[in-house]
Assembly symmetry: D2
Homo-oligomer: 133 residues x 4
């Protein structure tokens, strides 16, 4: 119930029409690439690779940590983690741009799909995949 | 120059204070997890794994494509790609939330760092890493 | 035909019983970990993470290369690539060991499965997934 | 000490000259690709992507498991895991072949490098990266 409301909130935000943060970042990245003549390298395939490389750099920080400790990242690692998170977002935005996907709309739609795949009464307290629920 | 302007645009957006799209999604995901009692599974380590798994599912679509063809994804694949892009964004937002990182601020900062690492006159037309420029 | 023969060759090799290279490496890695008291970190989950991190470091070398150029890796990169390939193999052997999987047998079996999934007359010249052939 | 011995054992194995398991698999994969006219798709870049995709499918099985539970994989998952491990090995062998890297030699060399990077007296009981030891 509450879930459905928050999803519809997001639709409102999208239809608001004012340029949002993701669009600003997308535009900044377009300009960044254009100034450096980087569009020749930014095929969707290459950007998907870059996204994976950055995601793995993020993962590396958790490599040998017990799950519990992972919650308490030492502060000196936090700055590096912030950068890795940002790298993933920037490549994701760039890739979505090249594929003409509106990330905000796609994310709101996916949340709705997830709410259907994982209804509260079935998914509560379970980490099973929806195909096994 | 133009680059610098667009980066500062983003700072303005962030400081605007009105809840933006990333914050709305973060809140929706918090609620989604709370309703399903999923916080027990959402350690940063597990979320970083999930992020990588989704990023690889995205990459799989480009696996055997020549770079050029990758630009022209067949429409039936597009819907699947949209979902994978959304999955990456949703896990990224969730992970950032658990690490207390403001993704929007982090991304704007990283763009500035990248502008310093890759000055236009050095990086133009080159795909080299900044350490090799 | 020829395919079937080469797969059966491999079965012969496995059943030969003399310790092979993969077993030697597995034993060396067991000893390496024991000497350093590293078994506490080498859960299957952590090793699977490490494997992914190393695979992504390998991928990073191809990140911005056109497919064609990728065939011609500059020699100074080759030494690094060799190390990344080795890292992937070492973690793979270690993970298989912890899961009690005989990699050699598993690989020979998978080749047979692949031969069934991708019969020559259907798969010839096609990069489609077997589910789409 | 013992470590050094086991590494030198491996060198002996390699220099034995009789075709080993990795070479048999390499040959079987060459034939498999030739019969299907797949060399056109098997650029090092594409194989590196495929390797990452398979590694992530392996990782997915551990996604939401606590570290401890991960040791006890349910038997129905084991068959799937075996296949994923095999897939990683097969792509790794294929990629090494395309890059003219002898995986066995590379792995033995890397083990020696690791023994230098992680001397027992420094690395014992620690999960730190060698650069932080």
């Amino acid at each position: 119930m509450a879930q459905r409301e928050s999803v519809s909130d997001m639709n409102n935000t999208q239809s608001a029409g004012s340029p949002d943060l993701l669009q600003n970042l997308r535009n900044a990245l377009r300009q960044f690439a254009a100034e450096r003549d980087w569009d020749q390298f930014h095929s969707p395939k290459n950007l998907a690779i870059a996204l994976n490389v950055e995601a793995a750099e993020l993962l590396e920080h958790f490599q040998w940590l017990p799950d519990a400790e992972a919650a308490a990242i030492p502060p000196e690692k936090c700055a590096k983690l912030r950068e890795e998170l940002a790298d993933v977002l920037l490549y994701l935005i760039r890739l979505a741009d090249k594929l003409n996907v509106d990330l905000a709309v796609a994310a709101a739609e996916k949340l709705k799909i997830n709410a259907t795949k994982y209804p509260v009464h079935k998914a509560r307290g379970s980490s099973k995949k929806y195909t096994e629920l």
